[in-house]
């Protein structure tokens, strides 16, 4: 319950944070809302020597829209994303998914950037990011780069975030198309055992799965079937090409079934909103 000791650094700007990150390297962890990091530090599964707090960096939590893109600062709280008028109007899937994260207190402190950088394979947000075709803005000392969600989530707790880089913002293309998120939460943790996010497009749509596999992923077979006009029946393809591993949450067959069932539910909901 007591984290190991660390040196605390309060970043005053993004460039200050990047300097601190360059100085302390692998000995440092970046603190956003703390709701992924502090629990593992309390259990001493992580004991960073340095903590770089982004909480006082100005301008990191804004939510704006321009040029067909909604930009959300990395320090925006889940609760703010869920209730933001801009997000609800221009990227409603993200608002819906943000409202499923954890519980109200967790949503009040946890941040979009912190959650994405942590990349828990059972987190809700990655499914929305993939379904929305969203991107993250990664800032390094030498400049920034924008990485699509498809490239960002590499593996369990692994992302494309490089050493010395900060995730500073999320960019979501504006979409008013129908969408939905269907989730089967773990009764203890509230994390997704299965979560399927769907953003329909002009023809077809993007379908993404979280929880059931080592990393969040697009369901290519479902998307192909949707594009081919399969409608709700596209859900039958949800387990195609996905490797499910048996664990405490169920057998591979059960997980494949959940993928199909929750894809079907999300798809049905999204099609109903069309």
């Amino acid at each position: 319950m007591y984290p190991a000791s660390f040196a605390y650094h309060r970043a005053t700007s993004v460039s200050h944070a990047l300097e601190l990150l360059a100085t302390y390297g692998d000995d440092a962890k970046v603190l956003a809302g703390g709701h992924s990091l502090l629990p593992v530090m309390k259990l001493r599964f992580a004991a960073p020597a340095h903590l770089i707090d982004l909480g006082r960096v100005p301008g990191m939590s804004g939510i704006t829209e321009s040029g067909g893109v909604v930009t959300i600062g990395a320090m925006a709280r889940h609760a703010d994303v869920a209730s933001s008028a801009v997000v609800r109007a221009k990227a409603p899937l993200l608002a819906e998914v943000a409202g499923h994260i954890g519980d109200p207190m967790i949503r009040n402190m946890g941040t979009i950037g912190g959650s994405l950088a942590h990349a828990d394979p059972a987190a809700d947000l990655p499914a929305a990011m993939l379904a929305l075709g969203a991107s993250v803005v990664l800032q390094g000392k030498g400049g920034s780069r924008t990485v699509g969600a498809d490239q960002f989530f590499v593996d369990t707790f692994q992302t494309a975030l490089g050493a010395g880089e900060l995730l500073v913002a999320v960019q979501v293309p504006v979409s008013s198309a129908a969408c939905a998120y269907a989730k089967h939460p773990d009764p203890a943790s509230g994390y997704a055992i299965a979560g399927v996010a769907i953003q329909l497009g002009a023809s077809g749509g993007r379908v993404a799965l979280t929880g059931l596999a080592p990393r969040p992923m697009r369901l290519a077979a479902v998307e192909a079937a949707l594009a081919a006009g399969a409608g709700a029946a596209a859900a039958d393809r949800a387990a195609d090409g996905v490797e499910f591993i048996e664990d405490a949450r169920g057998s591979a067959a059960y997980k494949a079934n959940l993928a199909r069932v929750f894809t079907q539910r999300a798809l049905t909901a999204a099609l109903a909103r069309k």
């Binding site: 319950m1 007591y2 190991a4 000791s5 259990l43 001493r44 089967h184 773990d186 009764p187 203890a188 943790s189 405490a248 949450r249 169920g250 057998s251 067959a253 059960y254 079934n257 959940l258 069932v261």
Partner: protein
């Protein structure tokens, strides 16, 4: 006043953040303890190197199990012994070997809790890992790793009750025999307040004070003082202040408390320890963990003619205080339930394993017994083609048969079971619900209805009975009434409230009997320096036993007051009556004295009978002549989603008979919470170890406690059959909800799955398990 839903007197401090729990208490100069715990389920301890920890700034001491043993600390004893029991020494910290993951191996004392934790990580223990065994069934197999040297084959004890030969004959001669294997999984209590203790040794007076999260502080003092630490009771004070829930888990004498007491004397400073939740999962005694084979035999009319039960009970690595009683006298004796069963035999083999000790958890043996009976009855109803409600009704003990001697030792003093069943069926709209169920099935929706008609033996317990059965203590209770000269009253009770509301209900008894205001009564509990003696709160005993002791003291006080009033009113004692706080002479209006006047007179002693001692107080010990027997029927309604296996509990109806009820609001609250815990066993909770003895469900991230949105509103009602064995006519209400609801919920789920041909699944009935069973069933078609 008795029978009124009076709002609780204790709520004010809890609602404003002024409750005083153990961890809220701070003593000057206190040190903080952190424990080094075994990461292995079974390991020899070759050496402990604490030099690095001792060298850290702020660290004051490190002690090992060997230090404690050398320092004269005795093993923690067991409070209930069976013939032939193999009691292995249970040291507060492992001396030669660690026998479960989480067993304390060493303790660090430091200036702050954070430093203590840092230093605990720096203690290097040289372990030699040994083979471990986690399931009781595996532990009893030939060649299994041996948990203790003195328990061959890991047999902790064997026990049996009932007529083996008669049962065998009944089963052989029966028309139908239903046989089933039933698992009753391990549960982890998880009171929301983690255990904590703060021990302070005062060298000047050679006195020890222990603040501790205890349900029974006098038992703590007796066992720790007399058996473990060798401290005279008169110089040992145990205080259980506000306690944040217990559910059995805070009955036992835990290693950390022993260590804190001993260490405080060693270092000359108060020593405090508060469990983290992770530690609680690994160190609070767990509950249940049975594997049972049941055979229930029926005649052609659907009457039960015999019942045979064999249970393997997992005791974990050590016996804690009550452990041997739980799968035996609190279990086997309940196997007649509400039913007229002519012959029963139950046998139990208890095994040591490399897991956290298993002891009493809410219901303690009685939920396990109820589950065996009620689950088997539902399976039998399917086999016999009889409606589950009808099968129960056919087998109820007839009201004319009370007192009823069961085939498993208990004598039920009272009971009338059909009215509770009928009431519950009426509340749930049973006939219509069955029609809706049939209609829903036709549409591919799977609704299930589950009944549980339970009986409970609580109000623990007649001391002579439990003594003859192996208890090492009596199970009476004390209650003292101290009337002050102003007529205000202090109650000293040996019961302990950790959520039950004694400060209100016990004051209600006094106010009702003495005709005074509720606010004029103060109830004191939880402090051995204030309370004469007590056995504490568990086994739904506070009202029936503690309340009765209090009632006895009130009567003695009233009677003494009556003699003073008679003296002052110049009337014969038998002509003086007492009503609504006033003594009066029968048939002589105006000749009266208020209770306050009499109280003052008793203390002034200017005008009391010449042969009377001044003062107005009384201490009584109530030793019940029998258990009390709450009963009732609960009905759960669920809907199973066949696509995912998810279970939604949609309706829950409870009809209980708790006898007379002192405060209906509080009793309903006990029921609601009990039901949530029992439902949770059926659907969500389960302590799971891997083959190496690592607890896979060691946090609230992985062990699913019920949340608000998992549960519907419970609809409850009561029948009232007062208990004849105590003056209040009350029974116990603390455990009934848990005892009834597990079986009701499991039965509902299996009822929903009946169209698939699924007759039984072991708990918890998780979506993955249900879905897999449906697939298997479909594949088999």
């Amino acid at each position: 006043m008795i029978g009124a839903s009076v709002k609780r007197k204790e709520d004010g401090r809890f609602l404003t953040g002024r409750g005083k729990y153990t961890d809220d208490i701070t003593l000057p100069g206190q040190l903080h303890a952190a424990f080094v715990r075994s990461p292995y389920a079974h390991a020899k301890i070759r050496a402990v190197d604490a030099s690095a920890a001792r060298a850290m700034p702020g660290v004051r001491a490190v002690f090992t199990g060997a230090d404690l043993k050398a320092g004269g600390v005795n093993p923690i004893p067991v409070g209930w012994l069976h013939a032939g029991i193999n009691v292995a020494e249970h040291h507060a910290m492992a001396v030669d070997a660690a026998r479960y993951v989480g067993e304390a191996v060493a303790v660090v004392l430091a200036d702050s809790a954070a430093t203590a934790r840092d230093a605990a990580e720096a203690v290097a223990v040289d372990y030699e890992e040994l083979a471990a065994v986690v399931s009781a069934v595996d532990a009893l197999r030939a060649g299994a790793p041996q948990v203790h040297g003195n328990a061959a084959g890991n047999v902790a004890f064997t026990w049996q009750l009932g007529d083996a030969a008669g049962t065998d004959a009944a089963i052989k001669g029966a028309k139908t025999v239903v046989r089933q294997h039933l698992g009753n999984q391990r549960l982890i209590p998880n009171a929301i307040e983690p255990r904590a203790c703060l021990a302070s040794f005062d060298a000047a007076n050679d006195e020890l004070t222990l603040y501790v999260t205890s349900q029974n502080p006098h038992v703590h003092r007796l066992i720790m003082g007399a058996f473990v630490l060798g401290i005279p009771e008169q110089r040992f004070r145990v205080v259980a202040p506000d306690v944040g829930g217990g559910f059995g888990s805070k009955i036992f004498i835990y290693p950390e408390e022993v260590v804190a007491c001993w260490a405080s004397k060693q270092v000359g400073a108060p020593v405090k320890w508060t469990a983290t939740r992770s530690e609680a999962f690994l160190s609070d005694s767990h509950g249940r963990d049975h594997e049972t084979e049941v055979e229930m035999a029926f005649d052609a009319a659907g009457k039960i003619v015999g019942l045979r039960v064999h249970t393997v009970a997992n005791m974990g690595a050590h016996f804690t205080l009550f452990a041997p009683a739980v799968p035996t006298y609190l279990y086997g004796t309940l196997l007649s339930g509400q039913y007229d069963i002519p012959v029963i035999h139950v046998s139990v083999t208890a095994a040591y394993t490399n897991t956290v000790p298993v002891d009493a958890y809410r219901g303690a043996g009685r939920p396990e017994a109820t589950y065996v009976l009620e689950r088997t009855l539902d399976i039998a109803a399917g086999t016999l083609g009889v409606d589950p409600a009808e099968l129960r009704r056919r087998n109820f003990i007839a009201p004319t048969k009370f007192p009823y001697q069961t085939a498993v030792a208990l004598q039920y003093d009272s009971g009338n079971y059909a009215p509770a069943l009928d009431k519950a069926l009426g509340m749930v709209g049973y006939a219509q619900l069955r029609a809706e169920q049939a209609a829903a099935r036709a549409k591919g929706r799977y609704i299930g209805i589950g009944l549980s008609s339970y009986i409970e033996a609580c109000g623990l317990a007649p001391s002579h009975v439990v003594g003859s059965l192996g208890a090492q203590a009596g199970l009476y209770e004390s209650g003292a009434v101290r009337v002050h000269p102003t007529g205000k009253v202090t109650v000293l009770t040996g019961s302990h409230s950790h959520g039950q509301g004694h400060e209100t209900t016990f004051a209600q008894i006094v106010a009702h009997e003495l005709g005074c205001a509720l606010d004029d009564v103060e109830v004191v509990h939880g402090d051995t320096a204030k309370i004469p003696f007590g056995m504490g709160s568990y086994g739904s005993r506070s009202g029936a036993v503690g309340g009765s002791a209090l009632f006895m003291s009130i009567q003695k006080v009233k009677e003494k007051g009556r003699r003073i009033a008679a003296h002052q009113l110049e009337a014969a004692v038998e002509d003086v009556d007492f009503k609504d706080g006033t003594y009066f002479v029968k048939g002589a209006p105006g000749k009266q004295k208020g209770f306050g006047e009499i109280a003052l007179a008793a203390y002034l002693a200017h005008n009391i009978p010449g042969d009377m001692e001044p003062g107005l107080d009384s201490t009584s010990f109530f030793n019940p002549s029998n258990f009390v027997y709450p009963f009732g029927t609960h009905i759960a309604v669920v809907e199973v989603d066949p696509a995912t296996g998810h279970v939604a509990l949609t309706k829950y109806v409870a009809v209980d008979d708790f006898g007379n009820v002192i405060n209906p609001m509080i009793v309903d609250g006990q029921l609601h919470g009990g039901i949530a815990q029992g439902v949770a066993q059926a659907l969500w909770e389960g302590g799971v170890y891997d083959g190496n003895g690592q607890l896979l469900t060691g946090s609230m991230m992985t062990y699913a406690l019920p949340k608000a949105h998992f549960l519907p509103m419970v609809e409850s009602d009561r029948t009232v059959t007062p208990s004849p064995i105590n003056p209040l006519g009350v029974k116990g209400a603390g455990e009934a909800g848990t005892i009834a609801s597990t079986a009701a919920t499991a039965n509902a789920v299996l009822d929903a799955l009946a169209p698939f041909g699924i007759t039984h699944l072991d708990m918890p009935l998780t979506p993955a398990k249900i879905w897999a069973a449906i697939q298997t069933a479909r594949g088999g078609h």
